[in-house]
Amino acid sequence: MPELRFDPLRKEWVAYATERNDRTFLPTDFCPLCPSGHGGASEVPLDTFEVVVFENRFPAFGPDRHDGRPVRPATTGCEVVVYTPEHELTLARLPLERVRLLVDVWADRYRELGSRREVGYVYIFENKGEEVGVTLHHPHGQIYAMPFIPPFAKAELDASREHLDRSGECLHCAEIAAEASGPRVVLSDSSTLAFVPRSARWPYEVHLYPRRHVASIADLDEAERWDLAQALLGVTGAYDRQFGFSTPYVMAVHQAPTDDGEWPQAHLHFEFYPPHRRGDRLKYLAGVELGAGTFVNDTRPEDTAAQLRDAAALQPSNRP
């Protein structure tokens, strides 16, 4: 059963979930995420659906059943978000209306999970493709309701807080202003901006922001939700066109923690990390990245941004 251990050298939590080692792995004759009808054997015993969320059968964080153990209890939970009943689709190929619904679902889960006393951070993400370790191909994402603020989000929040205290300005807003008309833009509209960050770790890394300073996905207004849905299709579609195949990636959503703190420096954004450095080569994390914590990038962000910008320009707009 899940537990957390704190590493005093790295000052970070490590999650242990031994049951996950036996979780369903790339099944070929049965999809646990396809609708199976009332009483069916899949995780979704419905005739059909639009978007469903359910508790992960194999959570990395779960109920605390370790009373008295010297570990921080993993008292929170993990959810699976199934984007569509259609097994062969991907986020990039969903209808705009479905992505718009997904934005609302993420906002609802952020509010609900974040309202739980023990949840410090609602981490929404998607692993797509076997290259990043996905075990089920059916289009889906995940949500970890974490009892602490994870290190990457914490580092961003700390940096943005320092900048805010020093200048009175959100660091993310400053980045948006700096990138908005620069050479690393991938796509842009009235309320969203996507760009390859100046110091991207991954060759085709993209950060997607709402231009307005909003702390969480729940704070987006109606027009911004449509724009975000369109931009999500734009970024993921650009990847597919750039590489000529359904591109694997990790999509990470960074937003305000849900503990009792004040987070004026938090600015919602999506980060995409595709593992490819070119169509036929993967970027691996190896000695320098894993052992020293320093990324070596074989491409210039300005060059990969130009490629993705050209690919994004071919994205049809199908807004109602």
Partner: protein
Amino acid sequence: MPRPKKLSRKEIALPDGRYLIAYGHMATEDA
């Protein structure tokens, strides 16, 4: 401006006690 969307949700209990929530958008009338 697109019409506002209203989220619908239906929660059911799975046989092993976990929850499942089916989400959709309610039909809205043209303004």
